[in-house]
Amino acid sequence: MNVVHHLPALLVITPLVGACVAFVAGRRVAPHVALATATADVVLAVLFAARVLAEGPFRYRIGGWGAPMGIDLVADGMAALFIVLTSIVGLVVTVYASGYFRSTDPTAYGHGLFWTLWLFMWTSLNGLFLTGDVFNVYVCIELVGISAVALVTISGGPDALRAGMRYLFASMLGAMTYLLGVALLYASAGAVDMATLSERLVPDTTAATGLALMVAALVLKTALVPAHFWLPTAHASAPTPVSAALSALVVKGSYFVVLRLMLDVMPDGYLPGAATLLGVLGAAAIVWGSVQALVQTRIKLLVAYSTVAQIGYLFLVFPLARNGRDVLALALTGALVHATAHGLAKGGLFLAAGGLITRFGHDRLAEMRGAARAVPVLTFAVALSGVTMMGLPPSGGFAAKWLLISAALTSGEWWWAVVLVVGGLLAAAYMFRLVAILIADAPAETAPAPKPVRTEWLPLALTAAAVLLLFAVPLISDLAAASTTLQSAGVTP
């Protein structure tokens, strides 16, 4: 048995085994189990991406059954990219969490549970990225949702419980709506496998309603404006490592499925107006999220609203994708670079925000003056993440913006370019408001006593990776070319 052939299955099994072992091992050993699992997952993810790059997309038949009877995993460049991103951010979050939970009161948190839930969520995310049929998507997305809600409420505080309830409501509503859509789609086309669906789908009302419900449900789970109501409180009141994982990875999971449905499954000319609507909502998200971020007085809420804004960029790909395969390649690569850059930078920014909260003992922005002198590394990490949020070079945010603006200008739909430029300036406004507070001179008497922040280099590593992501764009571009979307559109790598 050659390990390389079973990489897709191993990527799901490894974190699942880790989760089970961590549950049994107890709170002292669990962090070590999680670290080992995370490291193994990084290795597997990199091997997996290398194989996809070398061989192109392939299908993995679980147990050798094959669709439509068995379950097929689809291994392509897009899946590989998100899996690698998840593994890198996941590893950093795991290391951060082992320090974070050690320094807090061991009885206040569901310690042992954190590691199990966290690895379980990782399992479901990897499953979500690999799955090739729309019903399996439902299973994975439900599992991601449940473990994410549990992680948000793990501290047990009243704020966390309130935010968790709201999150649970959104999550359940989304999952149920999605399942209803799957049922309608199955009634119409008699299949749940994505590749089969894209061949069999005929424009009838049942299938159209099913697809519309599924996309709407995923939009709710991705927190695209106006369905973002649950995100800021959930992401802001979770423990710091959870906030980072939710903002960097979990919203990307449901977005990934939207990409699959809109670009792979849905035939051309289906659901007219859906792509434009998603683009318009994306533009609205950029403006509304940024304006909200600008007026927040608590650091984690600012960062969470920034996520609302940054999610908007991801949806600009849909209207642009209808303009021929060259523009599709530019726009899809741009969206994938943006998802990667945002994952790294937002993960880093949440970890840095958590460090600042630990350092100051509160999360009130106005009282964080003088942080630049007290915790220079964290301040620097915040500033670097700002470079990506604003889309300034040489960050991944810049590369994404460049690609999307090129796509907009090539297709003649120049108004999306205006949205991208304005979004960058709005991001500059809220990020520099944050940086200006941290860098301002603090009155000596209110300067708080130093509290050790042991994990301050981790956020810096993530944000620095996001800032230098321009140099990894050839790789992301190759992975995008190895996606089923671009392969079936006839774009050669």
């Binding site: 530019l330 690569t333 003088g370 630049a372 002198r373 220079p376 470079v387 604003m390 300034l392 070079p393 040489p394 810049f398 590369a399 913006k401 460049w402 690609l403 603006i405 090129s406 200008l409 090539t410 370019a417 430029v421 960058g424 300036l425 500059a428 520099f432 200006a436 860098i439 301002a440 001179d441 321009l470 140099f471 764009v473 050839p474 571009s477």
Partner: protein
Amino acid sequence: MTVWLPVLLPALTGVVTFALGDRRGTARAAVNLVGAIVSSVVVVSLVIKSYAGEVLSHAVPTLPGLDFGVHADLLGLLFSAVATVLWGVTLVYAIGYMDHARDRARFFGFFAWCIAAANGVALAADPITLFIFYEILSLTTYPLVVHSGSSEAIAAGRKYLFYALGGGAALLVGVTWLTVLAGPVPFTPGGALASVSGHTTELRIIFGLLAAGFGVKAALVPLHGWLPGAMVAPAPVSSLLHAVAVVKAGVFGMIRLVNELYGPELSSALGVAQALAVLAAFGIIFGSVVALRQEDLKRRLAYSTVAQLSYITLGTALCSPLAAAGALAHLAHHAVMKITMFFTAGSLAETLHVKKVSALPGVARRMPVTMTSFAVAAFALAGIPPLAGFASKWLLGVGAAEGGAPWALLVYVASGALAIGYMVPILIASLRPGDHPEAAGTESDPRMLWPIVTVAALSIIFGLTAGLPGSPAHWALTAIAPSFGGLMP
């Protein structure tokens, strides 16, 4: 890879500076000075190669169909050499000036990164690479502007960012649009857009966007508003960045834009060069007149910079070979002259707490060497022969007459008179008897004094050697010639 060193060495110096932290002052000074000296040696060796006709270049592939590349041509090396050599001089000054300041690791680290970015702007082989370094320069300057952390500094920083990021956005749209229209457009002497026919309206709008983007850093009126406010930064920042590296990145972008992207011919044919020339001429007169009325010494120098940068833009926009060469030469000449003046202003503020023109009486008696250096730079700026300013203005004036724009000659003469008008009162005021209690002839810290003397001497040397190979004027003529189809007399 050698061609990346002028970017990588200062960047590495910055990293080491941050790593050393705030306490190890001696190590920090040593690392920075060694970094500056090695970088200068590398740049000079590239200049020697480039004079011999060997232009090194290197590119790293990044975005699809788009390379991130630098090349060591004479044009770029002139700016790079000015920035790198003056970085070394300014470091000595800054080590003296910042002796008791806080957060010195942050200061020197970002200072080095600014130079790395400026060198990137100088050597960038295409508009996209230039844009990338241009934005990095904006970002790395911000912490230096707000260095003190006072509310005044934060406000100035906000204004600076507002302008810089707005300009960057215009530049981004312009560069993307141009690439979509024309494909990759590496800088080519004489213009890179030969393949584009028609699209005149689009090309005009793109030129406007790019000129606006560069115009922000070039303090082209009405985009100059950030510069006087940014004077709240420590003196070495005002000296090196707001007289040399940052503002010259803007005018250098203009030079690349007119000579090597659109080309002088296309720029005139589209009518965009003429529009830019009129704007720059207005900027010269506006900056000079406003400078006359400034009571704060650094603000007066800042408005003088606004005017002098527009000299360079005007010379470039005239699209005549001698004026373009004069503009490039003035980039170097103005750098040494204005840095002398800002060094002096910093010394007066730090040693004597003199910041206003009205507080100057007695200063010349107290610090004769410093004020003599200032006088040399002031006369050079006004264009008195045989100092540096005269050489570039001669080229600019002759070029204006040759290029069929005698009105520009009038602007240059008028602004020379205005420069005397805002500089000489400073000298006269400092010569008046005043009350500075310490013994006459006590200068500031020698680490601040000698850099002033050095750069003042350069203002004399650049003027005297203007005809010799290797001097900025000769260098500029050689570097600009290919844009006009060959060697000039």
